[in-house]
Assembly symmetry: C2
Homo-oligomer: 433 residues x 2
């Protein structure tokens, strides 16, 4: 067992000596003028190569007729061709009649869902733009682009702390049942962004049992990482929310989203929404005004490439083989360099795209800035909170997917160096105050 | 010269005899239980085949790096890759800095543009949803899906009659300059839907010189058929509206839209908007909340397949070769069967996708219903007017693109038979009243 002393237990002299030593090492790295990026959950080139076969599936000799006999090259089919619906329905673990395929991005679907609620309400409710106040619950830390949507529409965001079982459900229940201006909650229920937490069975059940004061309250269930495991034998399981809500007599309370952005190609994949039939009837009413239909050729390309959900699951194992060592590299550097120092904590996710790091209070911004000095771009501190404001200035999202393994080892070293230096400054300041 | 007598000049007996004869012919056609569709502007399979080479342009061996060095398979590039922007900018006759590429559909862009104006206003103006009244001018006959968008948002639509030079500009000028609740006008300026009229140079100039009472008034310039000529040597020309507006000191007054839906594949093409830089700055502010980016792989596929605008122009000649005989078939049947009868009028478009037919007042619905009896689906009568209400019940849109030439000859025959029968009924009724 490694013998380490927590930084807070070091003397001022020890801290100063350590700082000097670490600064030398930091300057060495800085001198390399590196350019590394751990800021966004982007797949690496090696992962994208996995789906290149998709480029050959449809060639000029291929028939572009889909199962229902429609020429995918022409207009028609509002909400997705049958074989693509089957594939995405299986991916979402729902019947295919409960899904609608949209364009290339769940972000776009979620934005449009809120935009529609603003101008037309939800299944006949008052348009949100006509209300004095609309609020959303935001489990934190969470996904910055979710929060950006609600902020864009002037929706007030209320932080709800995450626990290891998901959002604090006592708080969610109390708020949702008492305040009818609360219209929704952002959830990434599996391998959450950024913590990699999967909501517990009990949390999902409590979601399904919510008794919202607002009839037009919806759970925005962004299951972005539903099949994005890192370990074949050590994966997380999540109860299917549509069925849970149906069982609890709340069939219309949830919108579920997923995409193949991190299965095939980000920006050139398929995105879908799953919901009750009543929700989908209302949504199609608006959808048919907005579009004649989305890209069926790309739907067909995906369906033919993966064949079925088993093909997709097998494909995801290849992603895992590329991602797993990257996560393990970062986690082992964190453990080796920061374990026992009591200047930060993190979780070990079993899937998804992120590692969430909690620094000492008041240190996150400084750590991200420090890392940048040495050429490492991290997600901006605060980004994981509504309005970009982390009340403790503590959370940092680490995205290990994009850099090569070699880059990643260097990047992780820069990160821990930055954490150490900033933490020492804070502790020194406290000790000398 | 054919000697024909106008129906109105026939005696009651002549009309009754003619009706009997036509009814026999109609019953013969009806007995064939045909299933023909002239309802929508869908390209035919032969036209779609023209672009099948696009399926081979990107294969698993191809580099998917675009000119600016971005991997098109990954996230990034909000508003379009450079080579696709160049292609669509040339198609739209504007500088490439004045365009943004969106997804697969201009309808979707136009919908989103109105939705954004509803919730966020236009370049800082009051959101339209906060106003008591918002109105749009609708040149009629026009495109049903335009009208559906404004109707969906509760925007009051005001009919403006079309002339052979475009919308009645006296009326447009008077309304736009006096009523600040008028926020926009729908235009299909070239080979208009459904009449195939191209706005005159003077009309475009008058548009550019508008002095709107509302600062957030925008011309929605849907140049859907900009390069969709039927005749190489007999094409229409249209002044470029962005430049005209700039020259007149109204640079921000217009949004221009186009897509490759009827160039490559409907639903799997590219759609773009052109506007002043100030407009695009405001639009990108919202766009970056809604999406990380659209399908760059498809953008690259289009750019590589067409090469440049010349390649696209050459491609459009092949479309014309397929469409021209279809238009000529319908027009020759109309002329042969209805010329001189004074029971309908039509124009001979030089491009676009439609022929517009004006029946005797009060006859359009009945003609469409009659055609349906014999298995011919036409666009619903009234569809070319806001709220589906043609005040004269006169206009019928004919879409000759989708059927084969053989089907089209039969379809045209059914149509003229239906026109004759319904018109005789009307005239008989008037004569015997």
């Amino acid at each position: 067992m490694k013998k380490v002393k927590a930084y807070k237990d070091l003397s001022i002299e020890e801290l100063k000596a350590l700082k000097e030593e670490l600064e030398l090492r930091f300057d060495e790295v800085k001198a390399k003028r590196l350019n590394l990026d751990m800021s966004r959950g982007k797949p690496s080139a090696a992962q994208l190569d996995l789906a290149m076969g998709m480029m050959d599936v449809l060639n000029s000799e291929a028939s572009l007729m889909c199962e229902e006999g429609v020429d995918c090259r022409n207009y028609g089919v509002l909400d997705g061709i049958r074989e693509a619906k089957q594939l995405l329905a299986d991916m979402m673990e729902v019947p295919k009649d409960n899904i609608v395929i949209f364009g290339n991005s769940t972000l776009n679907i979620m934005y449009d869902t809120i935009a529609r609620s603003m101008t037309h309400g939800v299944m006949g409710s008052t348009p949100w733009c006509k209300l004095d106040k609309v609020k959303f619950l935001c489990p934190v830390p969470g996904y910055d682009r979710h929060f950006a949507i609600t902020e864009h529409f002037g929706i007030e965001m209320i932080n709800v702390p995450m626990t290891l079982d998901g959002p604090d459900m006592d708080m969610v229940e109390a708020l949702v049942s008492s305040d009818d201006s609360i219209k929704g909650i952002w959830c990434v229920p599996k391998y959450s962004n950024p913590q990699g937490i999967t909501y517990s069975d009990r949390t999902v059940q409590r979601f399904a049992r919510l008794k919202p004061a607002a009839k037009d309250f919806r759970i925005f269930w962004d299951n972005a990482y539903g099949i994005h495991h890192l370990y074949e034998e050590k994966q997380d399981w999540l109860p299917e929310i549509l069925m849970q809500c149906k069982m609890e007599g709340n069939p219309d309370m949830v919108y579920k989203f997923t995409s193949t952005s991190k299965v095939s190609f980000p920006g050139s994949g398929l995105a879908a929404m799953a919901a009750s039939k009543a929700n989908l009837v209302a949504i199609r009413e608006q959808m048919k005004i907005q579009t004649i239909g989305h890209d069926k050729v790309n739907q067909l390309r995906h369906a033919r490439f993966y064949g079925d959900i088993h093909g997709m699951v097998e494909h995801m194992k290849k992603h895992a083989d590329i991602l797993r060592p990257k996560f393990e590299t970062v986690l082992s550097v964190l453990e080796r360099e920061l374990g026992g120092l009591e200047i930060g904590s993190w979780l070990e996710p079993r899937g998804g795209y992120f590692i969430s790091f909690d620094a000492l209070e008041g240190c996150a911004k400084a750590i991200v800035a420090k890392a940048k000095e040495a050429g490492l771009i991290m997600t901006g501190a605060g980004a994981t909170f509504p309005y970009g404001k982390d009340p403790k200035d503590s959370n940092i999202r680490i995205a290990p997917s994009y850099p090569t393994p070699e880059e990643l080892a260097v990047a992780a070293d820069i990160f821990v160096l930055s954490v150490k230096l900033v933490s020492i400054d804070k502790i020194l300041k406290e000790k000398t105050a």
